[in-house]
Symmetry: C2
Subunit: 304 residues, 2 copies
């Protein structure tokens, strides 16, 4: 059996502030696909969030070329002064994380993030903040802290002590705001929809499950309304699925919502998920205590 190649692979997950004009999103996807050495694994748009997420994979050089092209095209197409959406954002290209996948270290991803930050700041006159593992300053490591105040509050924030960007000018790009670039472990974008239109319930459940207000350690959560469907959503990022697994998050949201007489309608994963995260959920539900990954037929066939 031919083994899949083991090229050093970094995954990048740029988030842009456009999820309604799908022609714009398709144009960006085409540009990413056409970069040699880069694979566009997935992309999806959300109209409520007015935001799109791309997932790219490749070696550092090709990923840098694709990312810089994405900045160029998105800054041309998106004007944050006209942008509305449920999701917090600071920039037209809002956040670009690099994630080690295979044969690379977190430090490789930090180096790539830093290099790209310097380049796009210089080329497009864009303020850039480094975040998570790429951040060198403890008070601006988390995306929430950097993004607090949003595009609308950016000008004032940048003038405050300690909030000059890592690269680029000390004032916002007029239409593009500022961007946040960094390196982090894999993250799962996970939303749970509740069978109610009561936004207060989604917000209370989000507060109960998220780390920042006393909940599970690797969960970020907020409650939002899905107006067009007449329901609400607990919109989450799971920042370490090995330590805080998907099924634990699901079960706790279900329990907390039940407190208000509200049922879980469904959940959704936005973009990609490592197979181990789903396998863990299956093992949990089925109480498969002694299961090993090598028992999966496809894996046994690949590895034998």
């Amino acid at each position: 059996m031919v083994q899949p190649s083991r090229m050093p692979t970094i995954v990048s997950v740029p988030n842009i502030s456009e999820g309604r004009r799908l022609d714009v999103v398709e144009g960006l996807a085409d540009r990413l696909r056409s970069t040699p050495g880069v694979r566009l694994l997935d992309y999806s748009s959300d109209a409520t969030h007015n935001r799109s997420v791309f997932t790219l994979a490749g070696e550092a050089g090709p990923l840098a070329a694709a990312t810089i092209a994405l900045f160029e095209r998105t800054l041309e197409a998106v004007d944050l002064r006209q942008h509305q959406g449920a999701h917090p954002r600071l920039g037209a290209v809002d956040v670009v994380p690099f994630v080690p996948f295979e044969g690379v270290t977190m430090q490789d991803c930090v180096a790539l993030a830093t290099e790209i930050a310097a380049t796009v700041a210089d080329r497009f006159g864009l303020p850039v903040y480094l975040y998570e593992e790429a951040s060198a300053r403890a008070w601006r490591k988390s995306l929430e802290d950097i993004r607090r105040g949003g595009f609308e509050g950016l000008s004032r924030k940048m003038a405050q002590p300690g909030w000059a960007p890592d690269f680029g000018p000390a004032t916002p790009h007029p239409s593009g705001g500022a961007s946040v670039i960094g390196a982090r472990p894999p993250l799962i974008a996970y939303n749970i929809n509740l069978q109610t239109d009561r936004l207060d319930v989604a917000r209370k459940v989000a507060a109960a499950v998220r780390h920042s207000s006393g909940g599970l350690r690797y969960v970020k959560a907020m409650g939002i309304a899905l107006e067009e469907r007449g329901i609400v959503q607990v919109s989450m990022n799971l920042t370490n699925y090995e330590q805080t697994p998907l099924h634990q998050v699901f079960d706790l949201v279900q329990h907390e919502a039940g407190r208000y007489g509200v049922s879980v309608l469904e959940s959704e994963i936005v973009g990609l998920v490592p197979s181990a995260a789903l396998l863990a959920a299956a093992q949990h539900h089925l109480r498969l205590d002694r299961f090993e990954a090598r028992q999966i037929l496809e894996q046994a066939l690949r590895e034998s």
Copy 2:
């Protein structure tokens, strides 16, 4: 990215009546591994069942060579007149199914099963029954029907009208009994352990979930005691996991056991399982109604 090769691949899952003398099992595994063109994906032994299950993959020719060698060695090593175990059995090599995996049809597997049945019957003087898709007679398609009466009742059964074997002599092999060879879709060997030593509970739950007594369509089940652990088990085969999924079986067993005040301790998969079966369990538990397999990171990387 290099694609995994798409050679025509058949999976074979021989079950032999030896699960206690692990040196014998290791010797057989070594023999299977050393057959060119055959990959031994998995093997496991169960002392209570006194039975071992091997999973092999390869093209038809190499699989035939490996299977014939397995018959030769097992008939030398195992004497059913000395054999005791919880699992029903008819032969030293009890049952050998062939399963289409990739680039082959069920008919290819029927042809291979029939060819091997004729060869081992002739070479070892062994009666062989064809089963499932390889069976040409409606009344002896199911393994249970063919195996009913066990090794101990074999001599009498073979003398009855309609029960002459498909190949080989009309009397049992003295130490090896008879073998059952055929072709079928993928099967999952799935056991659920109950937190009780009451064998009657395991038997009642098995009767409630299995198809033959009114339960789920693609479930075969029996209740057995795990004496050494002081608990009981609902031991099952799931013959079509797409139609009757793992999690539905788990949930129903849990419900039926609860009727007697008994909890599910754990479940186990014996041997290999297609990844889709586990993915379905995760989707069910998490209510991931709109999930697609291409959202799995490893799959997206393989296919992009």
